[in-house]
Each structure stands twice: as C-alpha cells, then as structure tokens.
Amino acid sequence: MRHTTNRHLWARLFASLLFLFSSAGVMAHAQYERSDPGRRSIVTRPPEVIKIWFSEQLEPAYSTIVIKDKVGEKVTEEAATVDAEDKKLLLLNLPRLEPGKYTVFYKVLSVDGHVVDSKFKFKVKPAKKTP
C-alpha cells in the first residue's frame, strides 16, 4: 500500500511541475509574419492594398493599419479589415501612392485578447521611363 502512495506522490510532483512549466507560454501575441509590400521593400508598382500576415487569428474590431507618408500625413482614412477566409490576414485598401517613403503602423488584437503594435517602412520608386 505504501509504495502505491509513493508512486502517487512522485506522479503528483512531476505533474505539478509540468503544470507550472506548461503555463510558460500560455499567452502569446499575434506576431508579424510577412507583408505585401514587404518590410523595407522598394517597389515600382504602387500597391493597391497592403496585406499583413500574422501568426495568430485577429479580432477585426481591434486590428488597425495606418499608413503615413514621409511628412507624417495619413494616406487614407479607410479602416483595415480582416480577410474573410484567412483570419490571420489584415488588409487595407490604398489610394494611388505617389513615389516616396511610407511607414506602416499596425496594431492588432489576437483572439486570446493580447495587443501588438509595431511599424515598418517601404518605398515606392518612380516607374521606369519608357522610350
């Protein structure tokens, strides 16, 4: 009877440690995975829409993108939307962008209730002159 009890105790000790350790990463954030235009990219064809993929599903109500030009003016007042099929993809339609440098500010809320905000830049360069 005694050895059974000991087994229980050891099992309990191990399990408890695991229980505690397992909480180490229980909460995470929706991390930037990739985007179009990419971070620090240089494009000739101005993007019509900006797409940012994250590591987790997003809450549409609290996920935003703001794009500013080099003087800090917003290029659009339109709101970002989460893609209907891919809940990790945040989209924002853009007006025609003039050549120049742009900064993309994003703030997203993942479905586990955590917020991430950051930014990246891209550049639209003038189109090649055709003879």
């Binding site: 105790l9 309990r12 695991l18 229980f19 180490a24 995470a28 494009v43 109500a61 609290y62 993942s110």
Partner: protein, 670 residues
C-alpha cells in the same frame, strides 16, 4: 488599474475553482453522516452561493478591464461604445457572455438548492452543479492562447483539462478543511465514516487529476513552451518561478499529510488527527490561493517568448545541444551524472520499500542526487550574457541579410577578413586572433550572445570593440542575420542536385518580390507549393528559361511552381519578353535576394571565398513546401543534370510525397 485587474481576475478564478472543488468534495462525501456532516453540507452550499455572487460580480468587471486594456485608457472602462465593441465584436465578449450566463445559472441553481435537492436528490444536484461550473471554467479556454493555436483542439483540450483538474484538487481543499473541522466528536460513527470515505475518495480523485494534469501539461508544454532560459530573465519567468515555488510548497504539505497523518488516521480516527490534518490543509489552501494570485498576474504579463526586455542574470547557462557534440568526455561526465541521479531514485525507493526510515532514505537519495548534479551539470555549462535570451526584432529575410552584408563590409572585414575567416589586414596586429565566422552555426552561441558582443564588445582586454555607437538596433540584427546566412552558406556546401529524401537541413530565407503584375513573399507558398528558384543572367539564361517554359506543365505537375530571379541583366529584360513566360520572372530589386542566395552557392570545390567569389551565370534551387532548401544545381559545375526536366519533375514528385514537417528552426529568431 493593473492591480485592480489582477485582483478581479484572481477573485474570478478563485470563486470558480472553489465552487467546482467544493461541489466535488460534497459529491465525494456521498450519503449518510451525522448532524455535523449534514451541517457541513449545508454550509458548503451556502459558501458556494456566496462565491457565485463573487463570481458574477468579478465577471461583471472583466469587460471594463478589457476595454481599458485595449484602449490603454482607464476612461474606456466606462465608455459605452468601447464596451459594445468588446462585448459584441470580439471573441472575448462572446466567451464572457457565455461564462457570465453560466455564472448566473450557478447562482440560481444554488439559490434554488432546496427544491432541486427535494426534486432530483442531493447527489444529482451536486452532479448538476459540478457540470455547470466545469462548463463555465471550460468556456474560458476559448479566450485563452490555446484558442488561437492551430490546430486548435490539442491546446484547447489540454488547457480545459488542466483547469478542471486544478479546480477539483485545489478548489476542493477549503471544503475538505471544513469537513475535518465539522465536528468535535469525530471518533464516533457516522461522522468518522464520512470523513474517512471523503479523504480516501479525494485522494483517488487527486491521483486521477494528476494523470490529467500530466497529460495535458505535456500537450500544452509541447505546443507552447519556448525557451526555459526565459524563466530567469523576464518578469513573466520570475512570476512563474514564484508559482513553481508555491506549488512545491503545496506538494510538500500534501506529502506531510500523506506520510505523517494518513497512516495514523487509518489506525484510529480522532478529532485531534483531523484537526492536525485540517491545519495543514488550511496552509495548503492559503498557499494555493496565493498561487492563484500569482497565476492571475501571469495571465496579464507579457509572455516570456514575446518579451523585449530579457535580461539573463547568470554568467552561465546550461545547454545540451550546445555542448553534447563537443567531446566524448562531456558526454561521459553527463551520463555518469544521470546514472547517479537514477541510482539516487532507486536507492530512495529501495530504502523506503525495505521499511527503513523515510527521512534517512530521502537524505541518502538527495545527497546522491546532488553528487549526480555536481558531476553531470557543469559540463553542460556555456558562457552567458545578459542578452543571451534576447529576441530578434528583425526577421531573417533577404533585405535584412543583404543590408547586414553591407554593414559587415563597412565594419568587420578589417579584422575578420573579406571572407570572414578571421584573416583581415589588422588580424595579425591584434592581441587575439579574430573569430573565423565561416564555422558552422552552432547552438553554442545564441543570437542574443552575438547581440551582446556587438553592443558591448568582447570585454576588457579583448580586441573586439562595441558597435553600439555606430549601428542602431535594426542594423545590429541585420548584421547578425547576415552572419547566420554566411555561416549557413558553408553548411549549404552539402547541397546536391538531387534531394536527400526526408532529410531537410537548411532553411530557405524568405524574400519579398514585386513585378509588374504580381507581388508577394516566398513564404506565401508555405505548405502549398514546392518552388524551383531559378537564378539567371540575362540574356545568357534565355535558353534555360525557354527550356523551363517548354516543360512547364511537366515541371509543375506535382504542386510545384517556378520562380525565375534575375541575377544580372534584369533591367535589360523587356516587359514583353517577361510576359511570354508562364512563370514568375522577378527582375526588379533582386539584389537582396541574389546576395542572400549567393551565400548558398558554395561547394566543397568552389569555396566562394575571396579568390573564388564570382557568381555563376545560373543557380537553381528547389525549396520544399515547408521552407527548406533541398537541392541545388550550378550548370557550370554540374552540366547536364537539371537539363533533364523529367529528372527535376521527379524530384518534385518525391518532395510532394514527403510527410509534413516543422518549418526551419529559428525562423522567428529568438
């Protein structure tokens, strides 16, 4: 606000778990007993009713706290519009409404306990209560991190079972305490029978819950734990260690009850023993409640794996992967250490089974285990720095690697040499030889170690200076990304024109492209398509592009696509010509991509060193659908092989049949 949030979450967790535990213990107590146990049962229901009010009230505060947290503004807690969004447009709101409705149901069920018990019987009533409370707690998993994992169910199941298991054990302790103190005349039947039965059943239930905790812990741990080093280097980790200490304290108390008092309880039931046990249970309960407070703080603390400020407090870290391959002596020493620890467990078990003193057995085992640790652990030690576990803020992508190469040329080649082999013009004048950066990337140094060296230098008396004044943080990470690609380029010498089946070993760095008609990232194809990356020179590569065009259908028949990237002459390629090809041809801003993948041109014969650095006219790579570089073809060095498109198509067919694997390690460089 932060403290209020922690307090509300703590109250909510305590109330829910204790209701579940209390109802479970009442259920376990079964029927019968005297007046004092009946009184205890009534008190349990009253206590649960009181707790259900706390549950509802604490729950009512949660949306406001979430609103304030999301808006980063205390006033948002009372802003109707924000609250509407939180409640009706987020998953938090949906889950909260279900949980709060269930909390009200718990309250109403407890309020109507008399007619319900009369109608369906007490045991059924208790089963109903356990079911509703467990459902309320399980629902919470849908707004935990587990719910955002893919696939969702393993994490969700693990998290749910974890909560239930913790609730029935920890939450049941207060009820157990009051049962033990329910009567001053417990040597008499029927009170003693009820207490004995309940303790026995609680013990069995706790054992079952241990199994559940063990399995669910393994699942959650496997899915979510990142690096153990973060335990000591972040606030999150520190809270977690506090939680571990509290938990160990609880288990020590449980051990005292089990080994010191339960045997006595078995021989002769007495009020004195019950009261003695109850004191320990009270201590265990108090510890558990403090533990739940720490857990509530943890819930709202930035997770270690996403913490930006990570400061490792020790000069050493332990790493098996960094040291295991270093020498056979290390392996032998570690194995001896493990053997001693196993022997310690065996010795302790043997001595206890033999019927000797438990205390002596534990002391003997502990001494032997400590000797084992003393022998086995030091060889696993690796030098560490405050930034050892720092997370990179710049992804491992072509544009970063390319910029890192420029920074390397500007800042590093004087000492490390143009080829990175530690043979720069200043190398001989230095007090210590500069590192050979071409050596394979090992786990011996983390990216955080490199970041520390670049920002602080190698230390007093060492020639490597600090670059903190000349490079900003992004540039430092660019340099580190380049050094990784540079080092992996040497590993890439193993790449052949044919794939090694089921043996991926080298990640393909991601890159962004933009053409006149399309834009995107290599990673967009992850888990969808394998890729033939064909780096070409224009116009010399026209024949190759034409060959790929002619056999395009055959080539892409096995979930593969072709991407042609101009290494040279891309600007000279007319748009009309590009449009003639049925696959993607990238000619704009290809320099970062070309420079990155040029790292993987090295072969054992053509080293890619300073005296052999010219790029070939063409290089082809296959990238499998999980993001690994699997084969490479350089026509000038291996003529003919991939000219046979059937051979290439066969390679893609083989890749398509391979089982799913994890993406390349350190893709999210930490």
């Amino acid at each position: 606000m932060e403290y209020i949030s922690h307090a509300v979450n703590w109250l909510h967790a305590c109330a829910g778990l204790i209701i579940l535990g209390t109802m479970s213990v009442c259920l376990l107590s079964g029927k019968g007993g005297g007046e004092s146990t009946e009184n205890w049962r009534r008190q349990c229901i009253k206590a649960a009713l009181f707790l259900s009010i706390i549950l509802i009230l604490a729950g009512l505060g949660l949306p406001s706290l979430q609103a304030a947290f999301l808006e980063e503004n205390v006033n948002a807690a009372f802003d109707q519009k924000v609250l509407e969004i939180v409640l009706f447009s987020t998953r938090f709101g949906t889950v909260w409404m279900i949980q709060e409705s269930l909390a009200v149901l718990i309250f109403l069920t407890l309020l109507l306990h008399r007619p319900l018990i009369q109608g369906i019987g007490r045991q059924r009533f208790l089963i109903l209560m356990v079911s509703i409370t467990a459902s309320m707690l399980l629902t919470g998993s849908f707004k935990s991190h587990a719910a955002s994992l893919e696939p969702m169910w393993p994490g969700l199941l693990g998290n749910s079972l974890h909560v239930i298991a913790a609730g029935t054990w920890l939450g049941g302790l207060p009820a157990l305490f009051f049962l033990l103190r329910s009567s001053r005349n417990q040597t008499e039947q029927p009170e003693a029978a009820v207490i004995g039965r309940t303790l026995k059943r609680f013990s069995i239930m706790a054992t079952i819950m241990v199994g559940v905790i063990l399995l669910s812990g393994i699942v959650i741990g496997y899915l979510q734990v990142d690096r153990w080093g973060e335990l000591f280097s972040t606030p999150y980790g520190n809270y977690l260690i506090t939680k571990i200490a509290l938990f160990l304290m609880m288990l020590s108390v449980a051990a005292v009850i089990r080994f010191r008092y339960m045997p006595q309880f078995g021989n002769q039931a007495s009020t004195a023993i019950n009261f003695a046990i109850s004191k320990w249970v009270a201590f265990e309960t108090t510890t558990g409640i403090v533990l739940l407070a720490v857990a509530s703080v943890l819930k709202e603390t930035t997770p270690a794996s996403h913490e930006e400020v990570i400061i490792w407090p020790f000069a050493t870290r332990f790493s098996i992967e960094a040291t295991w391959e270093e020498s056979s002596d290390i392996r032998m020493q570690v194995n001896i250490g493990i053997a001693l620890i196993v022997a310690a467990i065996a010795l302790t078990t043997f001595l206890i089974r033999k019927g000797g003193s438990i205390k002596q057995a534990i002391i003997a085992g502990t001494v032997l285990a400590l000797i084992g640790l003393g022998v086995g652990l030091p060889p696993l030690g690796v030098e560490a720095y405050p930034d050892t576990y720092k997370n990179s803020t710049v992804p491992y992508i072509a544009v970063s690697i390319s910029n890192g190469e420029d920074l390397f040329r500007e800042n590093c080649i004087a000492c490390h040499g143009e080829g990175g082999r530690g043979d720069g013009p200043l190398a001989e004048s230095l007090s210590e030889p500069p590192a050979n950066l071409s050596e394979p990337h090992t786990a011996l140094h983390t990216v955080g170690d490199m970041f520390w060296w670049l920002t602080h230098g190698l230390g007093e008396g060492k020639p490597m200076p600090s670059f903190a004044a000349t490079l900003d943080e992004d540039e430092l990470w660019d340099l580190i990304n380049y050094l990784r690609a540079f080092s992996e380029g040497f590993t890439g010498r193993l790449l052949q024109p044919h794939i090694a089946p089921e043996l991926p070993f080298l990640g393909a760095p991601d890159f962004y492209y933009s053409t006149a008609s399309k834009s995107g990232n290599l990673k967009d194809l992850r888990e969808k398509k394998a890729v033939l990356l064909s780096f070409f020179s224009w116009p010399e590569g026209k024949a190759r592009l034409d060959a790929l065009k002619a056999e395009h259908d055959k080539l892409t028949g096995n979930d593969a696509i072709v991407m042609a990237i101009a290494m040279r002459g891309g600007d000279e390629m007319p748009e009309a010509v590009i449009e003639q090809y049925p696959f993607l041809i990238i000619t704009e801003e290809t320099r970062p991509i070309t420079r990155t993948y040029a790292q993987f041109r090295r072969t054992f014969k053509h080293t890619g060193d300073v005296d052999d650095k010219d790029l070939p006219m063409h290089i082809g790579f296959t990238v499998d659908r999980f993001g690994y570089l699997r084969s490479r073809w350089i026509p000038e060095q291996q003529p003919g092989i991939w000219d046979d498109i059937s051979f290439l198509a066969g390679q893609f067919a083989a890749l398509a049949k391979e089982d799913e694997i994890l993406p390349p390690p350190d893709e999210h460089v930490h």
